[in-house]
């Protein structure tokens, strides 16, 4: 085991545009931050640049935790390792046929590219039935021939995916054993290994994604470790998983699919951690980016985790992931007037290139960011990367494209864009929260990302959310998530029985075995932990239903009556429907084992030495900001200069390197010990 309290911990998160780094030295209390451009061709360069920019002393670091988009990008862009599939005779097209949907309800078009092309999907005679009974024996020679064929075709990874392997994995195990003798490397994924549940498309895609990113992640991590060692680093490298936990670099490639979507997950972990320290356990997280925004729900400081995330059309990756939902509005969302003469914002986005007009990169269509600039909410200089566009240019386009058809001037058009965009985003957040069974009014809004804190107060007011929490460093929240993440392993075991017929002792044995397995995995990691937590839950439904309702359990040794009561209560809370006469099914037993790490002090995320004594010293300037239909002469503060526990009343703008916080009239903001801003939403607006 490593020492109890590591000294210097680095979290480094590679995003689409920037690589962010935060280093917390618990001994000296020192914090270092860096934000450098990402290097998509090899993310390791960005990581090293960030370490250099932060002047981190690699030899003195105790731990580096890394969030990477290597696997996410590989899947979404289909830049995958050449991968083959060996599957049950008659079923090679399962990965291509999917569940026969189309991408959008209206419009009879769509494009789908399977992870493994048809000529690399080979069939072998074998068949299990749904009870795991062999119908057709495995043709071992056929496996060998298929394996040799795939090797000859240059495949780097292979998936063995047989029907009903979740019920009996014997054929998959045997086929994998045969392949090990002929496969040139370790990249063999069995369908049942990551997800031992029925549904052949979802299980197959999950396995195929794992196989197809495994060689890429393996190479990437090896290269990064090597580079870090060369730089003098002697500690452990941990990698973030999509469930918000982390695993050691030596094991991460085994279950490479679990790193998909780990970036958004680490942001949510940081939110949960920050919220818990601030005494706010129920949060809706809102990360507003350039093209879209991410929303997640945290209850009792626990992020919602789902096993059924579909990362794009027909691409289900069914491993436990923090349930982050993407809504189609970001700073680059384009505003236009439709043929009915009504204003629409999004879903088209100007993206990062050319981006909003104010970027000066050639963008010519009005966006949310441009509206923020016109209204003085966003500093024109801060928003732009080049100086070639003047605020007058932006105004002229707003007046022409939006103002003229709507009968408004440029400012009126910009205010309308913000109003409609906020309404749309609030509606989408509301849909996310009710689909997860939550009333937004019971939550605080955790706003991060570059633009999240700019819209947070308006969104909270629209949603009836009483309070907004803006962390100290909204723009590097994902990197902070790496630093504060715990070790975590999630288990799902399908039980599938009517509650009346449940063998209670079997359930208890399942929980015990899940907990034991998780504890053993955590013990293998060379990481100090403060303690172990085990979260238990069951997935239940009424007989005849297909939806599952997750019911958290305080303890694993529950009896049938308690389960029935907890389920009926949870069902009523969610749907306001009582169904006393219908029996319940217990479908899954779930356990998460969490190795909690030492508490980190976040108070130095904003350097205490830089804080000024009073508000007037922290004020940079004043400028007119358009809020609630009129211009307000508004103080503009510099976040790093604000006194420790300040209070202020809106309107106010607080600017910092990576974000802008807008406090609207009627709202009251205060600083807390960790450098967060807590905003109480007033009634007006």
């Amino acid at each position: 085991m490593a020492k109890e309290r590591p000294g210097a911990v680095v979290g480094v998160d590679v995003g689409g545009t920037f690589t962010d780094l935060v280093e917390l030295d618990q001994t000296t209390g020192r914090v270092r931050l860096a934000k450098v451009p990402s290097t998509p061709e090899n993310q390791a360069f960005g990581v090293l640049h960030a370490l250099k920019a932060a002047e981190s002393d690699l030899a003195a670091l105790d731990l580096i935790v890394h969030g990477t988009t290597t696997t996410t990008n590989a899947v979404l862009e289909r830049k995958l390792a050449k991968t083959g599939l060996i599957t049950t005779a008659g079923f090679r097209d399962v990965l291509e046929l999917g569940r026969r949907t189309r991408p959008r309800p209206y419009g009879m078009t769509g494009v789908f590219k399977p992870l493994i092309p048809r000529d690399l999907r080979l069939e072998v005679p074998e068949r299990m039935d749904c009870d795991g009974v062999v119908v057709t024996a495995l043709d071992e020679d056929a496996v060998r021939v298929a394996g040799q064929h795939l090797v000859a075709r240059g495949c780097e990874a292979v998936v063995v995916h047989f029907l009903h392997a979740y019920a009996n994995p014997a054929h998959e195990l045997r086929a994998a054993a045969i392949l090990r003798d002929i496969w040139p490397n370790e990249h063999i994924t069995m369908g049942h290994a990551l997800l031992s549940e029925s549904r052949e498309f979802e299980r197959g895609v999950t396995a195929a994604a794992n196989a197809a990113v495994q060689p890429l992640l393996d190479r990437y991590i090896r290269r990064l470790v090597e580079e870090l060692r060369k730089g003098g680093y002697a500690g452990e490298l941990l990698v973030m998983n999509g469930n918000g936990g982390m695993v050691s670099s030596s094991r991460v490639a085994l279950e490479a699919a679990k790193t998909v979507m780990s970036g958004p997950a680490s942001g949510v972990m940081a939110a949960a951690y920050t919220g818990r320290r601030a005494g706010i356990g129920n949060l809706i997280t809102y990360d507003m980016g350039g093209t879209s925004s991410d929303v997640a729900l945290i209850r009792g400081a626990e992020p919602t985790v789902s096993n059924e995330v579909e990362i794009e059309y027909a691409m289900p990756i069914h491993v436990p992931m923090v349930d982050v939902r993407t809504i189609g509005a970001g700073g680059g969302s384009i505003a236009r007037v439709n043929p009915a003469g009504l204003l629409e914002v999004g879903p088209e986005s100007a993206g990062a290139d050319p981006g909003p007009i104010c970027y000066g990169l050639g963008g010519t269509q009005p966006t949310i960011s441009d509206a923020n600039v016109i209204l003085g909410r966003l500093d024109a200089r801060q928003s732009g990367r080049r100086g070639s566009v003047t605020p007058g240019d932006v105004q002229a386009i707003f007046a022409r494209d939006l103002g003229a058809p709507l009968g408004l001037d440029a400012v009126g058009a910009a205010a309308a864009v913000i109003r409609v965009a906020n309404l749309k985003m609030a509606g989408a957040i509301r849909m996310v929260s009710i689909s997860l069974g939550a009333d937004p009014r019971d939550f605080a809004l955790f706003a991060f990302g570059g633009a999240g804190p700019l819209h947070a107060c308006a969104l909270a007011r629209e949603l009836g959310i009483p309070r907004v929490l803006v962390p100290a460093r909204p723009g590097i929240t994902n990197a902070l998530g790496c630093v504060v993440a715990d070790l975590r392993h999630d288990f799902v075991t399908t039980i599938g029985t009517p509650l009346d017929m449940l063998d209670e002792s079997r359930l208890h044995r399942v929980f015990a075995s899940q907990a034991g397995e998780g504890e053993a995995l955590i013990a293998k990691e060379n990481i100090a932990i403060r303690g172990l937590r085990r979260l238990y839950s069951v997935d239940m439904q009424f007989v005849g239903q297909t939806h599952l309702l997750r019911v958290p359990l305080d303890r694993p040794d529950v009896d049938r009556e308690t389960l029935r009561h907890l389920f009926e209560t949870a069902y009523f809370d969610r749907f306001r429907v009582e169904l006393r006469d219908i029996r319940a099914n217990l479908v899954n037993a779930n356990c998460s084992v969490i190795g909690t790490r030492a508490e980190l002090d976040l108070s130095a995320l904003i350097d205490p030495g830089g804080r000024r004594a009073g508000m007037s010293e922290a004020m940079r300037t004043r400028r007119p900001v358009h809020l609630g239909g009129c211009w307000h002469d508004t103080p503009i503060y510099w976040r790093d200069h604000l006194p420790g526990r300040f209070t202020l009343a809106g309107p106010a703008v607080i600017e910092q390197m990576d974000s802008t916080v807008l406090i609207e009239p009627g709202d009251r903001a205060r600083g807390d010990g960790d450098g967060n801003i807590v905003i109480e939403i007033g009634g007006g607006g």
Binding site: G90, F91, R92, D93, V94, E96, L97, G98, R99, R100, T101, R102, R104, P105, Y106, G107, M108, T109, G110, V111, F112, P117, R118, D119, C130, V135, L163, H164, S198, R199, E200, E202, V337, N338, P339, A340, L342, L343, L406, G407, A416, R419, V420, L423, G427, R430, M431, I434, S435, F542, G544, Q545, T546, H547, R574, F575, V577, L579, D581, I582
Partner: protein, 593 residues
């Protein structure tokens, strides 16, 4: 009252949110997998005066675009005439009568008057597809019914909830006439709860913006939706566009049914004239007026997805000539095929008519059948009776930008197919194959998508197989020189002897014993544009991936492929294609924005 466009936008978004929250609430709480999993439901807000559509949830099944406005209109008229009970607050009417503005009997509608200050401000209504409403066969899709009474229990509008309380007597009558009745109370409560969610959220909206403002906005939005639709119609050059679409048979008499459609742009409106279509049929492939109109609207929404769902958007669309045809069937004609099959053929006719004037927006014909295969029997191992449904997808038509999608869902649906593993857990069957229907995509510059090819074997007990499918005789139509997609093909192997259903795509109660098999190959999509202009590399790729044979590459696309690994024979291709290679690609215009 004139309202500024921003307030209009805000209220439009608010009304949409109310409907979307109803949709979400309904499917999350529903019992029926058809509703919960397949989203075979819809929720909306309807005008108090005439029932016209104000807003509808964006997650609703496409076939319900606009249908509830007809049932709500009929209900309002019946109340006025004293043929239905007068409404009181917290009442909920139930109705599934196809001839009173409906679809088939399984689509059960609830309608709730929404009161403000003691007066009905609007109606909230939803539809959910119940798994069974009685009748000759479980599930209601009888291929050989000749009267609606054989299809299930028909409910006129009656108040199932009276001032908030469920009428247990009416519920008892319903429960005594349908299968798996004990679970329906779950759907009834979910359907009613969704309307309550709508009422709460609509009250919030009205409290915030004021009743008069919202009422004014609704009227104005109606007008503007019409303006928006007219702007899209203006993309269509003035003139008339003809199309024909055919249904294999009605399931009873083995003769094709014909839809004749002439779309005429008159000014800034479109007239859809169905005169000359087949008369009402003996079997269940009749449509009712509401479903026929909705099918036209849903086709137009596939073409112009940007148009809001509002009666105003449909105002510039006029449907004529359906009287006396099978598209406007009257009592007691059987109608169970209207929503699942006839509606898709109506949509196909609209696509076929408009693809020439709108080549950037309209695709060649999609598979266009719900592919309903039902297997009912007794499982001796579990000692119980069962009914299994396999609904399947098919290829989509090629379009101006891309090849068609393979194995897409029906034109009128958005539902997922059940996994093979789940089917085998639930029913005594073993799938021998679940594969791409090779060669099925219609040849074209952009080819059609491929259908599905599955084969299922009965393992235990005896069973009866029924099929309500289509496109067995005529493949989905190609467009602009593209070829038709492959036909649907059903083969039943009994004791090793192959049997083809008499009506190709429809037959009821074929007896099966253990070891007997059913193979279904679903249609491919129609091709788009001249196949001889398809880049030879794309044809080679399809051959390499075994989607087409070498022979098909030559016959259908004029591309000669040989060798192993396969390569293009440039000279042979040149010889087959003559001067046509490469030409024509430019005639395919891109989707305008």
């Amino acid at each position: 009252m004139t309202l500024d466009p921003i307030t209009l936008t805000v209220i439009q978004a608010g009304l949409q949110q109310v409907c979307d929250e109803m949709d979400l609430s309904f499917s999350r709480a529903a019992f029926s997998p058809v509703i919960a999993e397949a989203n075979d439901r819809s929720d909306g807000i309807y005008s108090a005066a005439d029932g016209s559509l104000i807003a509808q949830g964006s997650g609703g099944l496409p076939v319900f675009v606009g249908t509830m406005q007809y049932s709500t209109a009929t209900l309002i008229a019946m109340i006025a005439e004293g043929r239905a009970a007068a409404p009181r607050p917290d009442d909920i009417y139930i109705v599934n009568d196809p001839y009173l503005g409906g679809t088939h009997l399984m689509d059960v509608r609830f309608a709730r008057p929404f009161y403000r200050k003691g007066r009905i401000f609007c109606w909230l209504s939803n539809t959910g597809h119940w798994p069974d409403t009685g009748g000759a066969v479980p599930g209601g899709f009888s291929a050989s019914a000749t009267a609606v009474e054989q299809e299930g229990l028909r409910l006129p509008p009656v108040r199932l909830f009276k001032q908030g309380k469920l009428d247990k007597e009416i519920m008892a009558i319903i429960a005594s006439n349908i299968r798996v009745a004990e679970q329906r109370i779950g759907d009834v409560k979910a359907q009613a709860a969704a309307l309550l969610v709508g009422e709460r959220r609509l009250n919030d909206l009205l409290d915030r913006y004021g009743d008069e403002t919202v009422a004014g906005a609704i009227a104005e939005l109606h007008e503007r939706a019409a303006v928006q639709m007219r702007a899209f119609i203006a993309e269509i050059p003035a003139g008339s566009y003809d199309a024909v679409a055919r249904i294999d048979s009605d399931g009873v008499i083995d003769e094709p049914l014909t839809i004749r459609l002439r779309v005429t742009r008159k000014g800034d409106g479109l007239v859809f004239d169905f005169a000359g279509s087949s008369p009402p049929c003996a079997g269940p492939m009749n449509s009712v007026r509401a479903t026929t109109l909705s099918s036209v609207y849903l086709a137009m929404r596939h073409i112009f997805p940007e148009v809001p769902m509002s009666a105003g958007a449909f105002a510039p669309l006029r449907v004529t000539g359906i009287e006396g045809t099978f598209l406007d069937a009257q009592y007691p004609r059987p109608v169970s095929g209207c929503a699942a099959e006839v509606s898709q053929r109506i949509a196909e006719a609209v696509f076929a008519a408009l693809v020439a004037p709108l080549p950037g927006r309209v695709t060649a014909a999609p598979a266009g059948t719900s592919g309903n295969f039902a297997l009912g029997g007794h499982d001796p191992a579990r000692g119980r009776d069962y009914v299994m449904y396999q609904i399947s997808g098919g290829g989509y038509g090629g379009n101006g930008d891309h090849d068609g999608l393979s194995n897409g869902c029906s034109t009128i649906g958005i539902s997922k197919a059940p996994p093979v593993e789940i089917m085998e857990q639930a029913f005594p069957v073993l799938y021998r194959r679940y594969a791409l229907h090779e060669g099925s995509g219609g040849a074209g510059h952009h080819r059609g998508g491929f259908g599905l090819d599955y084969e299922v074997e009965l393992r235990r007990g005896t069973a009866r197989a029924s099929f309500v499918m289509d496109h067995g005789r005529f493949g989905p139509q190609g467009a602009l020189g593209g070829r038709d997609g492959a036909c649907n093909a059903v083969t039943v192997w009994r004791s090793g002897v192959a049997h083809t259903p008499q009506h190709l795509s429809k037959e009821q109660d074929i007896a099966l014993n253990p070891g007997d098999r059913v193979r279904v190959r679903t249609p491919g999509g129609g091709g788009f544009g001249d196949p001889f202009t398809r880049p030879p590399e794309a044809v080679l790729e399809d051959v390499r991936l075994e989607r087409y044979s070498v022979q098909q590459a030559a016959q259908l696309f004029g591309v000669v492929v040989d060798g192993a690994p396969p390569r293009i024979d440039a000279e042979g291709t040149q010889a087959l294609r003559g001067g046509r290679a490469g030409a024509g690609a430019a005639t395919v215009s891109r989707r305008p924005r």
